[in-house]
């Protein structure tokens, strides 16, 4: 799998179109895109700053994707994560998994996303419309009903 940290905005679907392996054996592709929102906890968010731990971030993402590649039968993957300053509507994270079958693609994609949320050393600080700044406290679980 390919892992990438970017400090510039990226277009996730364009990135996928550019990356997509020209293969005829991947019956299933599962993709998740996380996008910066303009609100959180009832307040208007005007920008998001994404801090990370250089080195440890890449190491954690490698470990997460390596585990997913062993646990599920996947053909390829792409993980892209933004750092730096983001405006609302910009993509934060892209996780894509190519597999022969849809169960593997869905499961591996969601697993990578959950692990990334809980282990990869990134921190979000929100800039609110009224000028205040605040750290995002904790990521919620992704297994809502």
């Amino acid at each position: 799998m390919h892992i990438e940290l970017l400090d510039e905005p990226f277009q996730p679907f364009q990135r996928l179109a550019d990356y997509q392996p020209a293969r005829t054996d991947a019956g299933a592709t599962a993709v998740f895109i996380g996008t910066s929102r303009d609100y959180n906890l009832g307040e208007t968010v005007s920008a998001l700053h994404l801090e990370h731990y250089p080195g440890m971030t890449e190491r954690q993402l490698q470990e997460i994707t390596a585990y997913a590649e062993q646990r599920w039968t996947v053909l390829d993957g792409l993980v892209v994560h933004r750092v730096g300053l983001l405006k609302p509507g910009e993509a934060i994270v892209l996780v894509a998994v190519w597999a022969g079958h849809r169960g593997d693609a869905f499961d591996a994609c969601r697993f990578i996303m959950e692990e990334l949320k809980h282990k990869a050393p990134f921190w979000k600080k929100e800039q609110l419309a009224d000028g205040r700044q605040r750290w995002v406290e904790q990521n919620s679980t992704g297994y809502a009903g």
């Binding site: 996380g34 994404l50 801090e51 990370h52 731990y53 080195g55 440890m56 190491r59 994560h81 934060i92 994270v93 996303m113 990334l116 949320k117 809980h118 282990k119 990869a120 050393p121 990134f122 921190w123 979000k124 600080k125 750290w135 995002v136 406290e137 904790q138 990521n139």
Partner: protein, 77 residues
Amino acid sequence: MAIKIIFFARLRELSGHAELTVSLPVPTTPRAVWQHVLPDLALPEPLLVAIDQNYAQLDSPVQDGQEVAFFPPVTGG
């Protein structure tokens, strides 16, 4: 002969340090490192710790030349 200490996010603001290097008798632990650098500041909760960029415990052994990082729960993605 030196241990590199890094603080991230809210803990960088709380500690007043981004990165510093200390000399301590080894083996030591992240807990002892924190108490040495910030004797007046109780260990915050929740707190995550890494040694050489791997998750560790507050009482895991730290050797000379290693990097100890303190940070709050991660919020990427």
